[in-house]
């Protein structure tokens, strides 16, 4: 049985005939471009489709988000996986009606990518959308989402986004404008910048994700005072608080701890996901809160989330010339802090690039605790392998630099496994561009 909340259908957007026809034409042209891109083996074509679509109908994004029941997911890290978990939960909730739902599963999360995904499912009245941090304001204004999940905020590509606080401010303004009709925000109470950004929303459900107060939130985003931790004790990390103003960690409705999630009614859910890592339990907590708010039964939502294995290639295994690697993505220091403890193989491969999508400045390599790899052998690869090699050298980690990706994998495959090294795939952590290259090489996208 589908709950009344879930069963409610959105009212389709009524568009003037001329607009409808132009959108049809734009969709067809976009599909042709995407098909050509796939033929030329240039990936899924989602981005090209969105670009062509938007060239013919500049309002494509705002037209296509209109008139749907939208659940949006944003934040610096974990939004692709969280979107997959949430989509799986809602799909499970919809059961036989799962055709009502569309999602941008490929992780294309800018205006183009979102328009592209939506153009392929015009009848779907429910959209679960991974949304880039820079698109959140437009999503709130045009898509009028019912639910907005805000995961976290950390440094990412500072050569493009100089101050993460400016993004938080744009969210605040958009939520304030949306007012009472704005989304219910599912927000990470552990992240001061998220709490500040969500502060203007009319409805907020706080999730204590048990993520550590990170290095990117030293100052109060509201008043600039140095934040402090209070009520710390053995095994309890306490909460954050601003001594300078009223901003403080809000009490949470959903609480993560020891691999489990406590729901508002006090019941405990252990998600037992197929995606690894405690950070994915935190992602699941946010997805679960959103799914429940959307009318999905908690146990059905969890069953749905358990079907997620390799969201957009993350944690996927791929074999290159006889060597099997497990692909892990790390886009910034916070992402590396999550991925490194998961990578247990010896040797382990680390792939670094510095084109626009990775961030052109690789100084962040020095914010990652590569020291924890001491005792194992690292194969440094990608165009910035030498920067990593120097970093590892100062970290006292044995390594070899092999800039070519495929050569690096075959070198790893040929390297002797140390005794005590776990059997199975060799772990490979990559920044965005090498990760995408490897997915393509493996035929996974």
């Amino acid at each position: 049985m589908i709950s009344a909340t879930l069963a409610r259908r959105a009212t389709p957007a009524a568009l003037p005939l001329a607009v409808r026809l132009r959108l049809e034409l734009a969709t067809v042209a976009g599909n042709v471009a995407a098909f050509a891109s796939r033929l030329a083996n240039k990936g899924s074509g989602a981005s090209i489709r969105g670009q062509v679509l938007t060239r013919i109908e500049p309002q494509a994004f705002s037209l296509l988000v209109r008139g749907r029941r939208i659940v949006a997911v944003s934040g610096t890290n974990g939004k692709t996986t969280t979107t997959h978990l949430l989509a799986a939960a809602i799909r499970a909730g919809l059961g036989g009606e799962s055709g009502r739902m569309v999602t941008n599963a490929d992780g294309a999360n800018l205006h183009y990518g979102i328009a592209s995904a939506l153009s392929q499912a015009r009848r779907a009245d429910i959209a679960v959308l991974e949304t880039d941090e820079r698109v959140v304001s437009d999503m709130i204004a045009h898509g009028r989402p019912e639910i907005l999940v805000l995961l976290n905020f950390s440094r990412d590509q500072l050569d493009r986004h100089h101050e993460i606080k400016a993004l938080g401010r744009s969210w605040r303004i958009a939520l304030e404008r949306a007012g009472e009709a704005g989304p219910t925000v599912i927000a990470n109470a552990d992240d001061p910048l998220v709490v500040w950004a969500a502060g203007t929303a009319a409805h907020v459900i706080w999730v204590n994700t048990a993520t550590l107060w990170n290095a990117d939130a030293a100052l109060c985003p509201a008043c600039g005072t140095v934040l402090r931790r209070v009520n710390q004790s053995d095994g309890d990390n306490g909460t954050w608080d601003c001594p300078g103003c009223e901003l403080t960690q809000p009490p949470a409705s959903y609480v993560v701890g020891d691999g489990s999630i406590r729901l508002p009614d006090g019941s405990i859910v252990t998600p037992e996901l197929q995606v690894p890592g405690s950070f994915n339990v935190s992602n699941a907590a946010c997805a679960l809160a959103a799914a429940i708010e959307f009318g999905v039964d908690p146990s059905v939502a969890v069953m749905g989330m358990r079907t997620v294995t390799a969201p957009a290639g993350r944690f996927a295994s791929a074999t290159f010339a006889g060597t099997t690697v497990r692909l892990l993505l790390a886009k910034n220091p916070a992402g590396w802090a999550e991925a490194l403890p998961l990578a247990a193989s010896d040797p382990v491969i680390l792939a670094i690039d510095s084109v626009a999508a990775d961030g052109k400045d690789v100084s962040w390599l020095w914010d990652v605790e590569y020291e924890q790899l001491a005792g194992r052998t690292v194969i440094a690869t990608g165009p910035r392998a030498q920067d990593l090699a120097v970093r590892l050298s100062y970290a006292g980690v044995e390594h070899v630099a092999v800039p070519d990706l495929r050569e690096a994998i075959s070198a790893a495959g040929g390297a002797p496994r140390r005794s005590g090294s776990p059997p199975g795939a060799i772990d490979l952590i990559a920044t965005y561009t090498p990760f995408q290259k490897l997915l393509k090489l493996a035929g996974l996208r």
Partner: protein
Amino acid sequence: MSRPVEIVLVYQSLLGIYGDRGNAMVLLKRLEWRGIDATLTIVEPGEPLPATGSVYLLGGGEDAAQISAVRELKADGNLFRGLENGAALFAVCAGYQICGQTFTVGERDEVIEGLGLLDVTTRRGTERAVGEILTRWQRPDGSETLITGFENHGGFTYLGQGATPLAQVELGIGNADDGTEGAVQGRVIGTYPHGPVLARNAALADHVLEVALERTLEPLPRPEVDELHRQRVAFVRRQGLRA
């Protein structure tokens, strides 16, 4: 036995957003690799700085962090005492700007008084300087060495009578797109490049240590570090020729 050389990394959470802690790791290791006893002291806001440091390090940060850092450092006072005791200060980007007389922050270009350790002033630049930078640094012995790094700053810095440029720009923006980069005044060195700059430029790292220790250090051959320097110089020159 003499006291270990103390490297003091100042306010990482405020001034360290561009991997600037790497400069501290590089200095520490380059001492250890030479068999010189050294320690790293990391100081966060609210904690007192030691006055006993040999090298103090400031890194990059956002506007609000700059204001906060200046306030805390003035209230603490031990950075000034350490410098009076003969320490060196190596300051990068936002850290460089706050060492000056004044700098500006925010949309309204609010003028903030700096630490006054360098005779420089920083104002909003005509455009944000973001990208690889290559400069020529004249070493104390008169020889010239290339410095490679990544600059990312909105402020332009102008030198007064008391400060001299650290280097001349070959490619990039530097202080104020005026051909100069960084500033030196006594044992205080300010510069824009990240990278971190001391990881990419071993010669500059050793220079900072030599200023602090007031002695010449043994050469430390590390082909891997030289190779990174070579690669980055080649990259920025290739990129520069294309532009």
